[in-house]
Each structure stands twice: as structure tokens, then as C-alpha cells.
Symmetry: D3
Subunit: 278 residues, 6 copies
């Protein structure tokens, strides 16, 4: 492969992806809104750019074959911020990728696109959208955008609905954890697949208590290796009392299922850790 573009390269997940992506192509173009991202890997270059600017995205995407789009606000935020980075930003990424001839966008979608479904319903990738926040609503938008660009323009996309990529420090994360190694495998498989059309896949490790059904995406070959069960005893011993009526315990989106729209930062420490992830 000649060139991969990675957005959100300065972010927590993006920074883990730089090294493996730099090995998958002749050139890796990393981009973010930070001034710089430190030492570059072999084949990597860095371009500062704002997702909200189509011109800047056009410059970044020049010659790209594959776009790994992890740039966006990673938490619930005021509507105007989500609109700028996560909605307008997504449209600019797809438009520029298409204009510059890229073949595929691999996108960091999120469980929060379907966060109001009950865990108990063990949803698959075909569950209807049920966003839990403006953040999740923007993920829904980008999934539908990917569908549109595939159907109308032949630009492929794989939407990775990441559950949570933080530490395993509460009962929800026993099910929702995505380890860094599994994240890397997931992104690699999404890039390697010869054809994908418009695809969705959950990003979750091989957890005993994983609350989603990934089988319809199995053809991508993602087989996670890590399992949060190793943390179960400690986490359950410290868990707050179960509450069968609490949406944060019942819903896929966890604490996002109760957070007020357009707000963040008000939850307890544990919950913040959990919800800041994706």
C-alpha cells in the first residue's frame, strides 16, 4: 500500500495506531490539531489540520489509498463542538477522501451510536441506531454518511463501533473493554480485507461478558485475544450496588445513558474514566 492517512493522531487511541500503521504502507500521513506529535516513525509525516476545514482535509488526503479516521471530540460535548468536529469534520473527511481517490475509510465509530439499547438485548451490528448523546448522534451521522458514499460513489468504509478502550475498573468495562492489542488487530483487519463495501463491526475484546454480537462481521477476520475476565474478581468486589432500574447499568452506553445532552465532566471519577474513552 502506498499511503495511509491517520486523523486524530495525537489522541489517545490514535497515538497507539501510529506505529503499526507506519509499517503497513510506504507512507503514513498523521494529522491532528496539535502543533506536533513528537518523534515520527519511519515513513510517517505529520500535518496539522482542522477536521472542520475541507481545504485542509483535501491537502491531507492527497494520494491516500486508505484513511483511518480517529479524529473527533472523544466525549459528550456541547452541540456546537460536536457539530464542528464530529459532523462537519466527518463530512469533510469523506468528501476529501473521495475527491483524492482513496479506496476506503476506516472509522472510529462508537457503541454510543446504539447506546440506549439494553445490554440484555445482545445487539448485533444490524440493530437500529439508538444514540445516547450528541456524541453518539454524530457517530450515527458518520455511519449513514459512509453508507451514502459507498452506495453513490463507491468509497468503501468500515465503521468500528468501539465499546470502551480504557482500563477495566468497573463492572461495565468487564464487558466493554477493548485492549490496545485488540484495537490494533481490529484496525489491521479492516485495512487488509480485500473488499468491504459499507461495513460495521464492534470493537470489543474477547470478554466473557461482552454485551454485543459481532458475528455478522466475522468475515473481516477479527479475532480478539484479550479478555477482561482476569479483572473480574477485583472489579466485582469493589462494584457499587446493582440497580435494576439504572439506565447506566442496563444500557449499552453505560453512563452516557444518563448524562445530560451536551454536557460532560459531571460524573464520578470511575464513570469519567469509563466514558472518556471513545
Amino acid at each position: 500500500m502506498k499511503k495511509i492517512v491517520l486523523t486524530g493522531a495525537a489522541g489517545r487511541l490514535g497515538s497507539y495506531l501510529r506505529e503499526p500503521l507506519s509499517k503497513m504502507a510506504d507512507a503514513l500521513v498523521s494529522t491532528d490539531i496539535a502543533e506536533d506529535i513528537g518523534k515520527l516513525y519511519e515513513g510517517e509525516s505529520y500535518l496539522k489540520a482542522d477536521l472542520g476545514s475541507l481545504d485542509e482535509m483535501m491537502a491531507v488526503m492527497e494520494g491516500a489509498e486508505m484513511v483511518v479516521h480517529f479524529g473527533a471530540i472523544g466525549d459528550e460535548a456541547p452541540w456546537e463542538d460536536i457539530l464542528h468536529s464530529n459532523i462537519i469534520g466527518a463530512r469533510n473527511v469523506w468528501e476529501a477522501a473521495y475527491q483524492q481517490g482513496a479506496r476506503r475509510v476506516v472509522y472510529a465509530s462508537s457503541i454510543h451510536a446504539v447506546g440506549m439499547h439494553l445490554k440484555q438485548d445482545f445487539i448485533g451490528i444490524d440493530a437500529p441506531h439508538r444514540p445516547d448523546t450528541y456524541y453518539g448522534l454524530a457517530k450515527c451521522f458518520a455511519e449513514d454518511l459512509g453508507s451514502l458514499f459507498w452506495d453513490k460513489r463507491g468509497l468503501e468504509s468500515v465503521h468500528l463501533r468501539i465499546l470502551s478502550a480504557a482500563q477495566v475498573n468497573n463492572p461495565r468495562s468487564l464487558g466493554s473493554w477493548l485492549s490496545y492489542d485488540d484495537l490494533i488487530q481490529l484496525v489491521q483487519r479492516a485495512i487488509e480485507a480485500p473488499t468491504t463495501g459499507f461495513s460495521i463491526i464492534y470493537g470489543v475484546s474477547n470478554n466473557d461478558r461482552a454485551p454485543v454480537d459481532n458475528h455478522l462481521a466475522s468475515y473481516l477476520g477479527y479475532r480478539p485475544k484479550d479478555n477482561a475476565e482476569q479483572f473480574a474478581e477485583k472489579v466485582l468486589a469493589e462494584a457499587p450496588p446493582p440497580d435494576p432500574t439504572d439506565p447506566a447499568q442496563m444500557c449499552q452506553g453505560g453512563p452516557f445513558a444518563t448524562v445530560e445532552l451536551g454536557h460532560s465532566g459531571t460524573a464520578t471519577m470511575n464513570i469519567v474514566n469509563d466514558k472518556k474513552e471513545v
Copy 2:
């Protein structure tokens, strides 16, 4: 009912709704971006307002129990225009409706939210989003927005996916036609239903060749009376040659399935008639 708000009151469909809505509540507040909408019906008042302004929407929604949201650009258009009126506008309508204590939004969604599905698949209201244009993508956004506001804030919404509300002058419209009388019945039923949660229903008359399955929305009590079949002989006699490989003939979205993203006005006359509708 005390007060209904109607957006898009100066539009083609909105102007048909003013009279019947004025009879369903003590007060009807009509709004649009036109300076005025002519003679008012009993109980009706008019407020000029821009969907893109939350402040103006807050003023319009004051005291509203029910919001009938038909305001938006009614055709494919450049991204920035769709963004302003159809995406930001929708968010403002829902946010203002919620802030002002409204109970429900009845929304003019569109078949173009699922326009890339084949007619042959006879989709129901549970088919996944497959927009055919930026216009359709904005309809997807507003449906997910409605889902979010119901799940998180208890604001009900009924999303009317109108197929086409123009004259019956081509083979597609033999299936997709929604007569004005049936439109009025549809909006009335969406208002009358005691509870709706988040609901979707297709807006189509009782056409023999209707390409969508509305049965999952039957509880709303919508029973269309008109049937485009009366026009079949004439329309089929004048129809262009069938083409089994033409997305405009195969897909739910008709000519939108082939129109370039962000453009409009380039199709032939027949097609323009058809696609300008909703």
C-alpha cells in the same frame, strides 16, 4: 389541544396543512422564512423565523404542545445549505420543542433516508438507513435525533417518510404517490395517537404499486384512501423504456439514486417534477 406549531408553512406541503391543523387546536402558530403567508385561518398566527437560529425557534415554540416540522430545503442541495436548514435546523426544532415543554414532534422525513434500497425489497419501517443524497442523509440525522430525544428526554416524535407528493406523471409515482388528502389524514393520525414514543411511518397513498411496507406502523390508524392506479394506463403508455440496470428505476429513491451529491436541477423535466416533491 392548546397550541400546534407548523414549520415550513409557506412550503408546498406546509401550505396544505395550515387549514386542517388550524382546526385541531385552539391556536396554530405557522412559521417559515417568508415575509408572510397571506390570509390566516381562524386561530392561526404567523411568525417569520429561521430554522438555523435556536433563539428564533425558542420564540416560535413557546407554549406549543405539538410541533409539525415540515420546514427544510425540499430537494438535494449543496452540503452547506442542507447543513444549515436540515441538520442544524432539525436540532434547533427538537431542542426548542423540548425546552418549551412540547409533547411531540411530527416530522416530514422522506423515503430518501432509505432511497438506495431496492423497490423489490419492499422495505418496512425497520429497514436500515440507506440515504441517496445529502438531503436524505439529513433525514436520517433527524430520525436519529428524534430517537435520542425520546430515549433521553421523553419528547415523542413521529417521522413521516413521505415517498412523493407530486403529480402522478411517471412510473415511479404510480407507487410512490401521496395525495394531499392522504397527507392530511397521515398528519392528523400522527397528532391524535395518545402515545407514540419514537415512531416511523411511510407517507404513501393506497397505491396498488406502493413499494414499501407500512404494516408495522398500522397502530397509528393511517388508512390511505387514494390510489394512483387510476393514472396507470396513461402513465405507462408514455413511460420511457424500462432499464433493469438503472438505479433510478430500481431504487426507492428514484432519480435521487443517480443525482450527484450536493447538486440538483440537472435532471430531465419529468425527473425534476418527481424529485422536487419532498
Copy 3:
């Protein structure tokens, strides 16, 4: 047909069935716990018997080809009462019917077997049980009993899940009404069908706002003629304020969705009218 047995012949619905059933067979044996049921129709005889007694049921079923089982407590009631008449009674009816060589049981089941489903989900006959009361739980029991006797013993049964058979005097009944004429057609079709195995069908008229999907039972040939829509204007004008959070408005079971288990008689007059029906 030689002999039909009708249980619950003194009940509100049963008494409407006596005449039409008397015409469908050489002999109709009506039974109930009342001392007598007044003037008999041609071919009809009456036997007083308690559903809770297998011996009495054995006597009643002698020579029966078809059993129309409408006897039971017709409202929510204390557990012990439901147990006696609706659970033990159902078992006795099936056991006696089988022992006496009957071919089929046609049973007055109820929407309350699935009463906690949302109307908005427009459930079919394949929805899982979700009873709303002990009354509904006993209906679930009798359906499973019918399944057992068909699978193990070849005794057919048709389970008529009646929605409500009262007057149309509140918004729910605009959807749930089963007219007496349609009830009679329904029972006739359930009797006439050459083979039925174990079948379920909703008992509801051809109401515009009917909240259930009967299409999987269409092979039985039931085509209701009446439509509660004729009462819509009056009923809606007098309706209490809609409440999107009230289970009695949202759920199939209506007021049964909020009544306390094992209790009855505490609802308002309208609600009592509604829930006493089936």
C-alpha cells in the same frame, strides 16, 4: 358435525355464541356454573358443571367433536381464584376433551397474555408471552397447554386472543374493539378450518387503529367487517389527556398494565368497562 360443547355459556361472550353454535352441529352442549341459562336453542342442552372438577368436565365432554372453551374468570382476580377456574379449569377441559375423543378446542385466550408489549411494537401472534396480570398469566398457561396436547396427543387447538369485546368508549378501544359479529365469525372460522394444529389468532375487528398484526393467522380466513373508527370523533373528543409515560396508554393490555396483581375493581368507571371484557 355431531356435537359442540360450549363452556362459559352463561358469560357475556358465551351467551352470544349459543345461537350460532347451535346451528353448526347436531347438538350443542352448553355448560357453566349457573343453575340455568334460560330458554335453550334448538339442539342445545345445558349442563351445570364446575371447570375445577375433572369428573364434571368428563361428563360434559362426552361425545364432543369440538370444544369452545369460554368459561373462566373474566377479569384480574386473586391468585387462588385464577388458579382454580383458569389454570386447573383449563387443564381439566383439555384433559377431558382428549379423553372423550374431541378433535379440537377453540379457546378464549386474551391480549393479556401479551399485554406488557408496547402497542407501538405492533406484535404478531409470534410475540413472546408478556402477561400483565395473573389473569393474563393463566392465558399463557392455557396456550402452552394447548401446544403440549397438540404435540403429544394430537388434540388441536385455536387460541383466540381477544383484545376487548366491550363498547368503544375510550381511545384504547378504538384499536382493541372486537364486535359481536366479528366474534361470531372468528369462532366459526376456528371451527370450520379443516386442520389447525396449534394455532393462535388475535380477536379484533377491522379497526383502523388495531395495534396487533394478525397476518400469520390469515389462513384461517377470518376477515373482520366492523371498524371502531365510526366512534373515533366522539371518543377522542372525550379522551383524557395523553401521557407518553403511562403504561395503560402505551401497552397492549391497557389498564391491566397498571392494575396490581390479584386485584380488580379499583379503576375508574371507564377503565373498568374496558378491562372487564375478556
Copy 4:
């Protein structure tokens, strides 16, 4: 339309189609193995040809835009006969239609492709094949052939699974009857639809007791007008005793569900009438 080819023009159903088809195109080429078919309609010509000969089919299909394929053995028969006319014959029709540039094949498929399903399961057009005879097996073959030619070669086909097109003279036909008028409408709609890809639709009138679900084919616009219910009273009065264990009463295929493979003509008169139809 320039030219329609009708195979099986001398058969019972084919002969009813000649007149209406002759009015739908400039030219109708009728073909069968009979020497002649009597007086021709305006625009009609007749060619004797054997389905089993590709060369003869090539000659018949010259210049055809639409092929209405009703030629075949219309009853269960020895394997070799079914093989020749119904399997090899179908392949020749599709191959010749494709070679000669036809756009679509409208095919007389049959309920016997799915005849072993229970009536009680109210199957749709998406039920898996469950043939009841070699006759039904050949219908399955032709459906899969149609799928192959559409997917690989772009030749459209509409497969009309006719239930029974005889008189209504037994309980099964109360559900399965397809009147001649409805047959003609069905064929017309299958021809008129602008695009069909590979489609299946049941051929059955608007019978109250119809045992199949046609809703997924509604986009074709077929709305049958006749209803066998008019014959119900008489037919039921004369019906043989119901038998809940008899496949001929329980299964879609009726008497075909019990007939021995490769044999015919041994059933009682009523049954012969019924099963000879399609």
C-alpha cells in the same frame, strides 16, 4: 412492446393468456407442441416447437422482448418426462431468451415448489424450497435458474407460484384458487413492472382463506379481485371429514403432499381436479 413469446399456448392456462397478451405487444408468438391452436388473435402467430430442443427454442425467441413461459407438464409425472420438459425445457427457454436478447421471463412456477410447508405457517415468498413432487422439484430448479441468469447475465424473471387455477370444489381450493381474471392481471403486472430483477410472487386470488403471504411482492402491484369465499358454504357442506394428521389437508401442496413421486392419476376425482391445475 415489440414482441412477446408465450410457451404452453395450447395448455389450459396458456390458452387464456393468448388474447390479453396479443393486446400488450405488436406481435405475440405463441408456441406449444400441438400442431395448431386454432384461430389466431390479431398480431398472434403460432410456432410448433419442443421445449426440449434448444434449437427450436432459439427460433421461437428471435426478437422477443418478453417471454411468458407456461409450457411444461402440468402434473406429477415420471422423472424422465419431468426432466425433459420441465428441467431441460426451462434451461432451454432461459438460454434462448438470453441469446436472443429478451429482457425478462415471466414463468408459471407453482406452490408445489414449497408444497411441503404447512398451511399454518403462512409462508411468504422467502420460505425455503420444500418441493412435494418431481413436478415441484422442477419448479425449484427453474426458480434457481432464474436467479442464476439474473445474477450472472442480467436477464430478469418473475416467478408466479400459482396455487391452483381450477374450480373451487374442495376445502383446499377455498384458499388456493386463482381465478382466470386474476391470473391475467398477475401476468400483466409481471410484464408491466419497469424493473423486477429476480422476483417471486404467489398466484392466488383475494381469498379469505388464502394460505400464503404475498406482501413482499406487493411492489408489483398485483391486487386480486376474486374471492373463493362465495363458494364456501357449498364446499364446506360437501367436504370430507377433517383429518389433522393428513398431509394433504395440512400442507400447502394439498394432495401432492401424499402422491407417490413420479406417479399421477391415482387420486380420487376431487383430488385429481385439484392437482391437475398447475
Copy 5:
């Protein structure tokens, strides 16, 4: 957790659960109809009580947070016995658990609630009830009871449909075996899950030939470790001749699929071993 109540503590499965349950809570109250159950584990106390008595159940449940309900007749039995212990008993357990403020009931349901389904259909937890015996019918009742108490009263329940928990000594048990270790894991997961609402899960080990699909219950985190395949060679060598028409070989319920209703003890030794289990 403060207190767990275990019913059926003297039974075969119950006695295996006493030790692990005693470690999961400050107090374990074991109950059964036996006079005593021998030496108690740390934190365990024993109360003799009859499931058929609501008063006795009320006493047992005092202060319980979690109820593990394994008490019942464990085999097909006369109707009156099933009625007393398995139907009335279940109702008393749920009623008392609710009255005493328990949060959840973990219940030993059984494959016999769906025993008449074919193994070949590989049913999931969403298959409709198809009981094979009065024993299975009572399991259906308790599942519907659990649904009712969750929907109406907020009492959670997890229904463990155990396949067979005996030795692996016949071909059926190669698929249906639930090892004791896996049983213990299953019960633990059903207790640990923070919220469950109304849930169903199959109780079966990780057998190669397991005939049921548990994936919809995966969110509970049950991952069985044992596999009956280790016994396959020996068991298959000694197996009786296969019979494709024998319900006992084809159906999920095994020998229960052929046993007469209300009877037990007549099968051969192997079969008795198998069916006595759950």
C-alpha cells in the same frame, strides 16, 4: 451480598450449589422439605419448608437479596403433584421474594419448556414454548411468571434452562450434558450480573454437539469449560440404532418427547438416568 436463599437444597443439583453459594453471601438460607440436610457450611442455615405454602415461603425469604430456586419435582409426575410443587410452588416463591424485598430470582428452568422443538432447529432462547410434559409445562409457567413479576413489579429473574445434568451415557447427553462445574459457573454468573431484567439462558456445557444456541444470553458471561466429547467414542459405540422417526432422538426433550403425560418411571434404565436429571 447479605443473604441468599436456596430452595431444593436437598436435591441432587441443589446440594452441589450449597457450598459455592455459601461463599457468595454473608448468609445462605437453605430450604427443602427434608428434615435436615446434614452438616452445614459456614454461614449456612437450614429451614424446612413446603413450596406449596406461601406462609412458609414468606418466612424463608425474610431479608433475602437473591433467591436461587431449585426446589421442585424433578421429573414428569401426575398433574396434581406438578401443580402443587412446580406451579403453586413457583408462584409462592416469586410472591414471597417480592414481598420480602429480594432483588432477583435465579431459577432452575429446563429444556423441557421447549422440549418438542427439533434438535435440528438449533433453537435459541427466543424460541416459543413447546413443552413436552406437565413437568415442562410448569417450567413454561414459571418463565411467564418471572416475566410478569419483572414487568409489573421490578423483580428480576434469570431462568436457567438446564438440558441434562446427569452422566454422559447416551447419544443425547453428548449434546445436552451440563457438568457440575459449569452449573456452578452458570449460577454464579446469573447472580453476579449487575442487572438482568427478565432473562433466559440454556444450561449446557461446552459440548461439541450441543443442540441449542445460547448466544443471546452471552452478556451474562457464562463460558462453559467442560465438553462431553471426551465420552463420545464410548457412548457412540454402545448407542442403540438411530431412528430418524423417533421423537426421543429428534427432539430437544429426548425421552420426555415420548413419555405419556403425567407418568414417569417406565422408560429403560438409560433413559431414566437421562430424564431424571432436571
Copy 6:
């Protein structure tokens, strides 16, 4: 088991099966159109016979309890050849097996019966037929034939839809590979299962990138051990450029999805290797 018959014993897959099958029964009768197949295993005998001759098949099947039918043309071929060996041949095998009292046919079906489905759809065994060639069409025929013989005559069959059984030398085979060891396990399980009725199962190893869903056939106990992932790095490094519009890359059938009907031998070497397999 007394006697197994293996057809296609001289073929590539058949020759691998001779030894393990010879150990599963007292006698193994191998058959093919070759003059001889070399040294025989203990208990094995060889009969030369033509699938196209019912008489010869009758002789071969004498006394057989189980038929393993792997004989057929193993690639796309002219229609007449497929007709003779794969269609008429299959019918002869089933007819003779039935006439001679066999209990079950285990059949080498193929992914090419559903080859035009997208890999991305991750089809299960319940996907409708979508053949990609005459070769695949004949596999569809044999599956429907198996259904017919089970429903009408009680002859069981297990249809093994083999994906590809060649070397792993291109990206498709990373998903589609069936190792010889797994093939043998698959055939053994299909033979050992006590009852199967009419069953379908995919023949594919435990590949990370397997594009089909076998879970509905899990009750057969097939658990593949091999995984083509070991070859992934090498194969992907040498892979041709991905093309999102190429049916050979998108479809289950791989190169068969683009090969012309009735032709073979024209693909590149890699493709030939791949498609010659099954």
C-alpha cells in the same frame, strides 16, 4: 454400521475419505467411473459405475446403510455434462439409495449453490439459493432433491456446502479453506449424528476470515481445528490489488462469480487452483 457406499472415490476429495470411511463400517463400497482406484483398504471393495445410470446405481447401493455422495463433475462445465453427472446423477443416487433401504445420504454440496451472495452478508445455512454457475445450480437441485426425499420418503440427508478444499494461495482461500482433516471430521459427524432429517452445513475450517455462519448446524458437532490464518502474511503479501467492484472478490463464489456459464479453464492459474476444488 454394516455398509457405507462412497461415490466419487477416485476424485481428489473422495480418495481422502476412503481410509477413514473404511474404518467406520463393516464394509465400504467405493465407486467411480475409473477402471480401478488402486490398493483397497480393509473392508473396502470397488465397483465401477456411472452416476448417469440408475441401474448401475441400484447395484452399487445394495444393502447400503449410509451413502457418501462425492461423485460429480467438480468444476463449471458445459450444461449437458452437468446435466448428466450432477443432476441426473444426483437423482439416481437418491432414488437408488431409497430403493435399497439406505438411511441417509451425505452429500458434497458446495458454496457455489449460494455463490452470488456477498461475503459481507455472512450468510448462514438458511440463505436462499443464489447459484453462480451451472455447477452451483446442480448443487441447488440436489439440495432440493434431498429435501423432497426426506419430506416424502423419510430418507435423511446432510448437505456439506464445501467452500474450497485446495491450497491456501489467494486471499479468498484465507476464508474459504477446508483442510483435509476438517473434511474428514465433517463427514464423520454427518454420519454419526443419530438423526439429521434434511440438514445443510458449511464445509470450512476454523479460519479467522471464514465468510459463512455455520451456527445453525452446530448440533451436528462439527468443530474444525485448522485455521488458514497461518498462511495470511504470505498470501496477503502476494495478493493482487483489491477491487471493491469485482464480483470475484466480493462474492462467496469467488472466481465462479465471474466465469461464463458452461465454461471453464479460462481463469488465471491462481483462480483455476481455487475453483477446481469442489
